[in-house]
Each structure stands twice: as C-alpha cells, then as structure tokens.
C-alpha cells in the first residue's frame, strides 16, 4: 500500500494549521484518503507546532513516523524536523541564506534529501501581497510537488474568498507564482502520489471532536455545560458554533463542578444534557458522579484524555485515565465507562451513552483522547446517518395513564427487577419524591437503618449485573487469511492484540502490512470498559499463543482491569506514555520481535 506523508511545521500562529487544512481538503476532494495529526504546545504564539497529513488511495487512519515532505515556516523547523524526512524526501523552507550545520548537511547528502528554498518574502513583496498570502503561496508549491493541478487549488480558494474579488485575484496570482517557482526550481522533484480514487471525493473530513459534537446533537442532547480544558475544549467550541442551527443551550460554566452540577440539574428535569472535560476537570466532577450513583440521576460526562498527572502535557494525548473513570467518586455505585476510538464511534456512541444513562439511571463516562479529538479523519457521509441511532429513555414515565398509577415510593422501589425503578419528572402531575443524596427509602426519605441501607445498596448494585448482561462484548477483528477467510480466528491465533481507544486505528492499518501477515494476528477491541466483559477474552485465551496488551499509559490499565476481573495475565505488554499515540512505524517496530519468538 502506498502511503505519502507530509508535515508542515512552524511557530504557532504562523499558519501551520491553515496550510494543513487547505492541503487536506484539496487532497480529499482530489480523491485521496487523508489522516491529519496536529501537534502543538500549550502556548498561543511561538510554540513549535506541526500538522502532519498522511495520504493514500486506500483507507488509512494513522500517521507514519517519517515524512516524504517537510514544509518549514521557520528555521526551528529546519533544525528540529529535518530528521523527520524519509530517504529521498523533500525539505521545503523559506528561511533566507540558511546554512545547514555540518551534521545536517551530512544527513541531507546521505539520505538524498532535496532542499528547496522558497523566497516567500521576496515573492510577496514583488506581488505587493500581505504576509498572510504566504500561506497560499507555500500551499501552491506543495500542491505542485504533489503533481496536482493548480486549478484544483484555485477552486478551493474560490470557495473561501469568492465573495472578495480583489483578494481572490491576489490568491490566484500567488498560486500561479508558486506553481512557476516549483517548475523553475525543482522540475525533477516530485512526490509519487498513488492514483486518485473517486470514492474519497465525496467523503467528509472531520475531527473526533466535531463528530462527537454531531453525535451529541443527534442524540437529542439539548444542553451542554463545559469549562475550557484541552483537549475537551474543541467540543465545547464546536457545539457553541452550531447553536444557531441546533438551538442547543451551550453554557460555559465558572468551573467543572458547576458544569457537572448544571448538567445533573438539567437531566433531572428531563432534558438530555452533557458535560465534557479532561482529567483535572474530571477530578473536580467526581463528587457529582458519586451523587448520581446515589440519586440515580442519568448523567453523561465526556473525558477527553491528555497525559497527567498534574497539569501534565496539556496539549498531548494519553490513555491514563481509564482506572480513574472506572472508579471515580466515593462509595460504591453502578456506572458505565465507554471509549470512542475514531470519528465514527465519536458520533454513534453518544446516543448509546445517553440511552444507557437514562435506561439505567446512572452516570456514564465517555472516554476520548486528544489523538482522536483533534485528529482529522476521512469518513463516508452515511456514517453519520441517523438511521443507526435509536433513542431509548428506559423507565421514564411521561404519559398521563402511567403517571396516574404512580406513588411516591415507586421512585426508589428496591423490589423492581434489575434495580431499575420508575422515573418521572418534576412538573408531572403525579405524587412527588425526593431525589436524595443521603441513603433513603423508596420515596427519598431519610432512613439510616441497617435494613434499609442494605436493601437500597442491593437495589443499586443490581444494575451492575444488568449492565454487564447488556453491554456488548469486545469486538474481535482480524485480516483475511487467503483461502481460509476469517475462520482461523475460531481455531488458532498466533498473536491476539488487546486494546482500546485510538490504538484501534493504528492496529487496523497495521493489519494490512505485508510484514505482519505471515502470522495470524487478531485484534480484540474494547469499546465498553466498565463493567468489563470478560467472556470473550477468556474464550480466546484458550486458542491464542501470545496475548499482547497495547495501551498508551504506563501501567497497562486495561490489563489491570482484565486481571482484576478474571485473573488473566498478558504475555507481553506494549505500552507508550510520552504523550503521543502510537504511529504506524513505532507500533510495527515493537510488534515485529514478537512475531519471531
């Protein structure tokens, strides 16, 4: 499979994202699958940032370690990212009279790197264009290096500036100038894109946060309360931007505790509401999660993970909050923890999150990661069809007939099956009850007696078993083994990778790698993480030679949960905890030795 990778680097605020997004959109529309990864520092200006695009005619969902083209906005890029180039790669920069250090020149010579200097400032001065037009100039050079026609790029620019004819004209001139520059200075330098395919042209380019925002809207959520914290903020921003259409109430609260409490108050009244935060904010929300356990109030928390502890690596990724999500809050109570792994999950799982919250009257945590929330995926439009979604509200009574039969003691009736009692909403013409954070009787009255405490605890804990019976088992994935199809997964597996979250994407990409096909490698993906299903993994243990845990945290937290639940131990663990998700090459490099033994 042919994969091309280009990486745009520079100081934050220089235009790295604009160029990255323009190239991504142009390439997708030209018929390529694009995966975009943004990396940046926790500053507004001058931090070193990058936007990497991986491009193929086949589906890809991960980044490569090395790039075919590195575009440098400043000299820090030349110094820091030259070594990110593959053999035969291209370095495009715009730093006048740059003299390479001796070891860099050696790297260039040994690896056959082509160096292209684009005199952006001179060109813009000649055209009497503002510095911001440097973005389109540099994009047009990249576009030429990719062998694409300037007309495609012009079409994109027309869409953006069509309503401003003067600016559009200047953009067109810059594109022509960039194309000319490439032809005159690098006629023999070219990136070898595979042939384009029509199937990608009409697909969507979307980030995990945007997909999750759409999922939240589609799930009938009508209020969203948040407090800014990377990498949860893009979701808050996206939902706020959609308000004109969605009419959703989007509120930035004064802190995470408030956001969580307002969400619970809104849910209690009977609308659907959610909140989102990252690890530190979730810490603050945990008392509210515990409250929901006792008051049996549906609640939805999105936990967008970055690396901790403390403030940690605010703008980077990680999977270090699984154990927290599975156990946050004091006391014992039922809860559900699920994790998205890509933009399709980010969309579809939100309806499930609200459904579980309402049906089981529990707090639900949806995990995502910076690597999913801020990465750009190519996805067919039908993925987002509402036909895949069914809204379920469980034992919620709103009709007159139902309300007429109620008595106050139905609210926390300990005798109902699965511990799930009737729920009805303030304002309903029915007997009233107290939603109670103290231990309580069936109508929410105080009762500290031993007998009542035991009965109510048992009522709530029954929901855990009901949940366990309901949540889907982890999903087994594998590649077709020639004539044998996928049947081998029921007989014998050489290596079973077990993981969750964003790792699914890179593992799926690796399953198409010819170097790995000589062994029967299957992948078990956990979408639902608490309560944890263990039947499937125990069954697979019997036919698996080597069980390998893959996680982006230091302890192997899913592995710890699996061991806790069924005693199962992994033969190998591939863990990563540097704030970055696995890229294609790194995971492959760490997998290969396991194939030999």
């Amino acid at each position: 499979m042919t994969r091309i990778s280009l990486k745009i680097v520079g100081a934050q605020g220089q235009g790295v994202n604009s160029v990255g997004e323009m190239c991504a959109k142009g390439l997708k529309r030209s018929g390529y699958c694009v995966f975009g990864l943004r990396e940046y520092m926790s500053v507004i200006k001058n931090g070193h940032s990058s936007y990497q695009l991986d491009i193929s005619d086949k589906i890809i969902r991960s980044s490569q370690e090395k790039s075919d083209l590195v575009v440098c906005f400043n000299h820090h890029g030349i110094e820091n990212n030259l070594c990110d180039l593959k053999e035969g790669g291209i370095l495009l920069h715009q730093t006048p009279q740059w003299k390479f250090k001796e070891e860099d020149q050696k790297f260039i010579d040994e690896n056959g790197i082509s160096v292209l200097y684009l005199p952006t400032e001179d060109v813009l001065k000649k055209l009497q264009a503002k510095p911001v037009l440097g973005n389109v100039l540099i994009t047009s050079v990249v576009w030429s290096l990719l062998g694409r026609s300037a007309d495609e790029l012009k079409e994109l620019v027309r869409e953006q500036f069509g309503h401003k004819p003067d600016l559009l004209e200047l953009n067109f001139i810059c594109i022509e100038e960039g194309t000319k520059f490439k032809n005159e200075n690098a006629s023999d330098v070219q990136l070898a894109l595979p042939d384009s395919k029509d199937e990608w042209k009409d697909q969507l380019l979307i980030t995990g946060s945007q997909a999750m925002g759409l999922g939240i809207i589609a799930a009938g959520c009508r209020a969203f309360f948040g407090y800014p914290m990377t990498p949860a903020s893009p979701l808050l921003t996206f939902l706020a931007d959609q308000q004109g259409t969605s009419k959703m109430l989007v509120k930035q609260a004064e802190d995470e505790i408030t956001a969580a409490q307002m969400m619970v108050g809104a849910m209690h009244m009977g609308t659907r509401a959610a909140t989102a935060t990252s690890g530190g904010g979730y810490d603050l929300m945990t008392e509210t999660i515990s409250l929901c356990g006792m008051s049996e109030t549906p609640a939805v928390f999105v936990l967008a993970q970055r690396s901790g502890s403390g403030t940690g690596l605010p703008t980077w990724s990680g999977q270090g909050d699984l154990l927290m999500a599975a156990s946050a809050g004091h006391g014992e109570f039922p809860r559900l923890v699920m994790s998205v792994s890509n933009e399709r999950d980010s969309f579809r799982l939100m309806m499930d999150a609200f459904n579980y919250a309402e049906e089981f009257q529990i707090p639900v945590t949806v995990l995502t990661e910076k690597h999913i929330a801020e990465s750009l995926f190519t996805m067919p439009q039908h993925t987002f069809d509402s036909k895949y979604l069914t809204l379920e509200r469980g034992r919620l009574i709103t009709d007159k007939e139902g309300l007429d039969t109620l008595k106050s003691g139905d609210r926390y009736d300990p005798d109902l099956s699965y511990g799930i009692s009737w729920r009805w909403l303030p304002g309903s013409y029915a007997p009233t009850y107290c939603a109670q954070s103290y231990e309580h009787t069936a109508d929410g009255s105080f009762d500290e007696s031993s007998q009542n405490a035991q009965a109510q605890m048992e009522k709530r804990m029954k929901k855990i078993e009901a949940l366990r019976a309901r949540v889907p088992e982890p999903r087994l994935e594998g590649t077709t083994d020639g004539a044998k199809g996928m049947d081998w997964m029921e007989e014998s597996i050489d290596i079973l990778l077990v993981s969750w979250g964003s790792n699914e994407s890179v593992i799926q990409d690796l399953q198409c790698d010819s170097d790995l096909c000589k062994k029967r490698i299957a992948y078990l993906h956990y979408q639902y993480l608490w309560p944890l299903c263990i039947e499937e993994i125990q069954k697979l243990r019997g036919i698996t030679k080597k069980m390998v845990l893959v996680e982006c945290n230091a302890q192997g937290q899913l592995g710890m949960l699996i061991k806790q639940e069924c005693g199962l131990e992994f033969d190998e663990k591939i863990l990563k905890y540097d704030g970055r998700a696995f890229n294609y090459d790194e995971l492959k490099r760490r997998l290969l030795p396991l194939l030999e033994s």
Binding site: D202, L204, L205, L214, I217, A218, A219, G220, R222, A223, F225, Q243, G244, T245, S246, K247, L249, A253, E254, I257, T258, Q261, M262, M263, V264, G265, A266, M267, H268, M269, G270, T271, A273, E287, T288, L291, M351, Q381, F384, D385, S386, L389, T390, L391, R393, L425, P426, G427, S428, Y429, T432, Y433, C434, A435, Q436, S437, Y438, G444, S445, F446
Partner: protein, 291 residues
C-alpha cells in the same frame, strides 16, 4: 384540565422534624409551605433543591418535587434545572457554610448569570450540622468548635458582597416572622431572575451571639418605612449597616431584570422548553461544512 387550588395540607410529609427545639428551620419550613400554597402552586408544580446542612433535613419534611444534593453545590444544581424547564418554579435552600465558603463561587456566578430561580440562605452564622464551627459569617472572635480561643478571621459582610455583584433581587427576612418570610418568598418566586433571600435564623444550640431574642429586638420591616425597592444604592446601604437595626423585607428589586435564558441568542424565539426537545436529530444538514 383545571386542578383544585392547593391547600396547606398538600405539602405535609409523614416524616417528623428532627431539628433542635427553637431552631429557625421550623419557621422556614412553615413559611415555604405557606408561600407555595398562596402562590397557587401544587406540590407537583415546583422543584425544591436542598444543600447539605441542618436545613437540608427539610428535604423529606415537606412534599413537592425535591432534590437533596451535595454540600455547597445547590445553586449550580438548581440553575441547571431552571434552564431545562423554566415553567417549574425552582427554590434552592442552602446554609451560610455551604454558600459563603464551599460554594461561594456558584453564588457569585449565579447572580451574574441571573438564572431564574430563588435562593434562600439559611443564615444562622455557623456550621450547625457539623456541630458548631465558625463560618465566614460568624462574628470574628466568637469561640466556636475548631476555634476554641475564638475565630481569628474577619467576618464577611455578606450583603455588601452580594450587592457588589449587581443582583436583581435581594431580600432579608427573619425566621421568627413567618408572615413576612412568606411574603418575601412569594415576591422572590415571582421575580424574573435570580432572587437572593437572606433568612436570619436562630440556632439555639451553637449560635449564642445572635439569638432569636437578639434578632427579634433589632429587625424592622423596610416596607413599613416607605423604602423604594428600586433604589439600588439606598437598598445596599440599608442592607449593609446592621449596627443598630436590621432592615428586613424586600430590599431591592430590578424591574428591568432579564433572566439568563432570555439573553441566549440561540434560544430567542424558541417556544419549547429544553425538556420538550429530546428527540433524535438528523444532522445531515450540518455535514456540508465537512466536504
């Protein structure tokens, strides 16, 4: 469907009160029930939210839809409820410990945001349920649990603080005057915006410095002294100075008050409530932005 008008027994709970003899909470309970009845509200038409503290033990001593949540968080909880269903009057009850220490930030922002709800401060100037610690409203120097030599921190002037936040409704009342409390609660519920009601109340067990008798001697009703409740500065001055007499009644009301939900651009012109809108949404029209 017409429903019969409510009567005082409608709010009666089977549970017996557990407060100390002489506790101000009895008066607040009585006035709350009476105010709701006089407002023509039946138990199923209201939501009463309780913080954690002695007053929170009221949560099962009357009927009505109720939510007894966490310590310090009642204002946030109630404001979320108020946004979701603006047709259900929301009253939140909290003590001076919960709302001027643990959850003081929520009070600040609820006043700024002007959520349409009533907040009733059970102000007995100490932490009662945890056996008599000093709160930020306890007079400096009082000997309290955990401060046996006397508290050393300055007392917060709660009214000066509240007025500094540009509230749209401020009242003060006294747990010994059920008639006035009832009228104040009614005015607060009828106000469109965040209504702040400070109830000075006796705590016979732990508050020896501002007893029922002490308060009784000092309170006076501003409504009987021709007070203009639309005059912000006058109201603030009256509220803050308690050196000789303590002004009670509705102190300030802004008739131009616009509650939060009415300020949100996206909700303008929307006739339904958030609680009516839960349905699966086809988001296909939004996808064009991602092509």
């Amino acid at each position: 469907m017409t429903q019969p008008s409510p009567c005082s027994g409608d709010y009666d709970s089977k549970n017996l009160c557990t407060w100390c003899d002489g506790c101000g909470d009895y008066g607040v309970l009585g006035a709350t029930k009476r105010a709701l009845v006089e407002l023509g509200l039946e138990p199923h038409q209201v939501l009463l939210c309780f913080d954690v503290g002695c007053h929170g033990n009221m949560s099962d001593k009357l009927l009505g839809y109720r939510f007894h949540g966490l310590h310090g968080r009642v204002i946030s909880l109630a404001s979320g409820a108020a946004l979701a269903n603006p047709d259900v009057p929301i009253l939140a009850f909290g003590g001076d410990g919960a709302c001027f220490s643990e959850g003081v930030g929520h009070l600040v922002h609820a006043i700024r945001s002007n959520y349409n709800m009533t907040f009733v401060l059970h102000n007995n100037a100490n932490y009662g349920l945890t056996t008599g610690q000093a709160s930020s409203l306890t007079p400096k120097g009082e000997k309290m649990n955990t401060a046996p030599q006397g508290s050393v921190e300055d007392t917060l002037n709660s009214m000066d603080f509240v007025f500094s936040l540009k509230p749209t409704f401020v009242a003060r009342t006294f747990s010994g005057d059920i008639r006035q409390m009832t009228d104040v609660f009614k005015a607060a519920v009828n106000h469109r915006g965040f209504s702040y009601v400070d109830v000075l109340q006796a705590c016979p067990t732990y508050n020896k410095f501002a007893s029922h008798e002490y308060l009784l001697e000092r309170v006076y009703d501003v409504q009987k002294e021709e007070h203009d409740i639309s005059n912000f500065e006058k109201a603030r001055a009256l509220a803050v100075d308690t050196s000789e007499r303590i002004a009670t009644g509705v102190l300030y009301k802004n008739n131009e008050s616009v509650p939060y939900i009415d300020r949100v651009e996206a909700r303008k012109g929307v006739k339904t409530r958030l609680v009516d809108e839960v349905a699966s949404v086809d988001i296909t029209p939004l996808l064009k932005n991602f092509k």
